[in-house]
Amino acid sequence: MATTASAVMSQVMSPRPLPEANRPVVPSAVLGTLIFVVAEVMFFVGMISAFTISRAGAPAGTWPVPGQPTLPAEATALNTVALVLSGLLLLVGQVLFAKKQAAAKWLVLAAWGLGVAFVGLQGREWSQLLSAGLTMTSSRLGAFFYLIVGMHGLHAIGALVALGLAALQLLRDRLEGGLFFGAQVFWYFVVLMWPIIYARVYF
């Protein structure tokens, strides 16, 4: 809003011009989702720090409880790769969306598919662990595992529904920017939260 000297002069000479409208720096849908994501990040911070404190305070030899399964860190690496790849594809899709929407379609769909694959793989892991005897009440490790990973899974499913709706609109060329950008922000949150959970909880 730099004013030149002549503009200042004219301001003195005539009634002050109408003020300029404020232009939003961040679109409302993205800003709203971002603020929501802040609260969500703190939600996960709460759970993960509770987990860290509980593990650190557990008497030696009780974490995990002997005889109960440990978390399959190696097998979950595949899930992690799928999710991170999905986030990267969506990022490329977002860049392309600004240039040509047609190319973005397939990237967004691929990102969505990888996200669904992640949730499916997680489900398989849960059923294996449950049948091996790790449940919410079998130990505190189990309780924390199902709590944190389950909450992340719920967020992933919610974000996938929104992203799926956006992808559907995109396929029909009837996309409203708000939904797409909001869903994207939320998906990035789900993707970025996972490596932290993976590193803190599985190892």
């Binding site: 409208a21 404020n22 409302s28 709203g32 929501f36 609260a39 709460g46 759970m47 709590l147």
Partner: protein, 574 residues
């Protein structure tokens, strides 16, 4: 997920189309921020009756143990626990939060920044509906087997974690569920507030032209957003402990009860500032208008509020000095706790600086605003004793603590709300409130308020423990005069409650029969006073306002009028 749809609706609202809607559509499905604000306000006032009734019942039990309380009956020990818990939770979560943040935020933000509605009007409606549902769940929990939750508003495990301990299995879970729903409601509200202020300000309104009360509500919303997550995490864990039998907090299963205290107070302490800051903002608006003076040090107030907000995240463990935390950690939290009194004191000094040399008009809202400063000061100063970990070991869980936080929360929740309601009443309802009855109510509230809590300070200093149902079993706490002080405080409470009838009569009489108010009865500068009283759907029928200056240009030396509305262009110089 409905952001795009909400967007479309927002665009639609731009048309200022006025629809005549049926009662149900208007009050159940309205997306108008003013109607949602009124719904929050009146739900909050209704919940205050519950909060007031519960305190009446349990204070009568303390003053006259074993008596049949008129209107309640005999208070059993289980009842007593439930009454105390309900009083605390209702007054903080269902009175202070909805009235100060949700009602005033919804009402004032679009009007004060000069737009027609919130950015996400349908999220806003959902927010109120969730809040209403949470109130219904809470009230329903009084009637389930076992009765309402009785583990205090802080809900410490293991007491709260197992039905065998609390004896209120279903009541505990419903309490948690109600609190969680309420937080979801305020999350949606907060997202709306912040986004609206960022993206919908009137043309010309820069960040430093935003009135302080709006800033305060925004900072409070950010604090809420950033602090509520860990508590929701804790609430989910506690719910699992109650219903699924996990062992997060139950020591019998290896869990850690102090972990809950950390998660709870990480939210619980910023929460104090979540409600304090809006009240501080209300006071700033009122004292500038009624001293006809520019707010002293606008930016200082703003930065101080931000500083308070940041610091408030580092003080939570001062609630846990006797919970077995490391004394070295207690020292750190003592220091941060004492530090936070500096910015708050600074705000109080700024307000006194604003009063200095002003032409002060002692209207009812101004009396409330001045009383806020005086009474909150007492609450803040007694907090210093409790913040020092050494003194707190003695004072912990005594009536000194009760008196301290009521000297902070009563000014925030009630004095602040009364100030706001009496000040914005002409705008909300297009009528003036009766000044004489307003002042009668003011003195009838302030005097008994002090008469209740000064005796509690004295009792607390003598070691009076707060979680006792019948003091006759504790000879040490029945020594000379202690019961007399309890009776005195209870009688003062009865007087205070009786004077609230004056307020209610004045409120409802003025809504229907009050003198008609002009658009700007207080000669104030901010944008809401440029809209008609009460503002129609769309707020500004002559088109959205343009803003030319900050909100506090009172008694400008170059002008004949002692106020200068934000919308009025500078006079043309020829």
């Amino acid at each position: 997920m409905s952001t795009a749809a909400a967007h479309a609706e927002h665009d639609h609202a731009h048309g200022h189309a006025h629809h005549d809607e049926g009662f149900i559509k208007k009050y159940l499905w309205s997306t108008d921020h003013k109607i949602i604000a009124m719904q929050y306000l009146f739900t909050g006032i209704f919940m205050a009756f519950i909060g007031g009734f519960t305190v009446y019942a349990f204070r009568m039990q303390l003053a006259f143990p074993g008596m049949s309380v008129p209107g309640y009956g005999r208070v059993t020990a289980t009842d007593y626990n439930a009454l105390v818990t309900t009083h605390g939770s209702v007054m903080i979560f269902w009175v202070a939060m909805p009235v100060l943040i949700a009602a005033l935020g919804n009402y004032l933000i679009p009007l004060m920044i000069g737009c027609d509605d919130m950015v996400f009007p349908r999220l806003n409606r959902l927010s109120y509906q969730l809040f209403l549902l949470s109130s219904i769940v809470l009230i329903a929990s009084f009637y389930v087997p076992g009765g309402a939750f009785g583990g205090a508003w802080t809900s410490y495990p293991p007491l709260s974690a197992k039905a065998e301990y609390s004896l209120t299995g279903l009541g505990s879970s419903m309490w948690l569920f109600a609190v969680a729903l309420e937080f979801a409601a305020f999350l949606l509200g907060g997202i709306n507030f912040i986004t609206t202020v960022m993206n919908s300000r009137a043309p010309g309104m820069k960040m430093f032209d935003v009135p302080i009360v709006v800033w305060m509500i925004i900072i409070a919303s950010i604090l809420f957003m950033a602090s509520v997550g860990p508590l929701i995490a804790g609430a989910v864990m506690l719910l699992f402990d109650q219903q699924l039998g996990t062992g997060f907090f139950d020591p019998a299963k290896g869990g850690d009860p102090v972990l809950w205290q950390h998660l709870f107070w990480f939210f619980g302490h910023p929460e104090v500032y979540v409600v304090l800051l809006p009240a501080m903002g209300i006071v700033a608006e009122i004292i500038t208008v009624f001293s006809r003076k520019k707010l002293f040090a606008y930016k200082t107030v703003l930065y101080t509020a931000i500083g308070t907000g940041v610091l408030s995240f580092f003080v939570w463990a001062h609630h846990q000095f006797i919970a077995g935390i490391d004394p070295r950690m207690a020292n750190v939290f003592s220091v941060t706790t004492l530090l936070i009194s500096i910015p708050v004191a600074e705000m109080v000094f700024v307000y006194i600086g604003t009063l200095y040399g002003g032409s002060i008009r002692l209207t009812t809202p101004m009396l409330w605003a001045l009383a806020f400063i005086a009474e909150f000061l007492l609450g803040g100063v007694t907090g210093i004793f409790l913040g020092a970990s050494g003194a707190d070991i003695y004072f912990h869980d005594t009536y000194f603590v009760i008196a301290h936080f009521h000297y902070t929360f009563f000014p925030i929740a009630f004095i602040g709300s009364f100030a706001a309601i009496t000040y914005w009443f002409p705008k909300m309802f297009g009528k003036m409130m009766n000044e004489t009855w307003g002042k009668v109510h003011f003195w009838g509230t302030i005097i008994p308020f002090n008469a209740i809590f000064i005796p509690l300070f004295l009792l607390g200093a003598r070691g009076d423990h707060r979680r006792i149902y019948d003091y006759r079993h504790f000879p040490d706490l029945m020594k000379a005069g202690m019961q007399d002080l309890r009776v005195f405080a209870t009688l003062a409470l009865l007087v205070l409650l009786a004077f609230q009838v004056v307020f209610l009569v004045n409120l409802f009489y003025s809504i229907f029969r009050g003198e008609k108010a002009s658009a700007n009865p207080w000669n104030a500068n901010t944008l809401e006073w440029q809209a008609p009283s009460p503002p129609p759907h769309g707020n500004f029928p002559q088109g959205l306002p343009n803003v030319y200056r900050g909100p506090y240009e009172y008694s400008h030396p170059d002008r004949q009028d002692d106020y200068w509305p934000q919308t009025e262009p500078d006079a043309a110089k020829s």
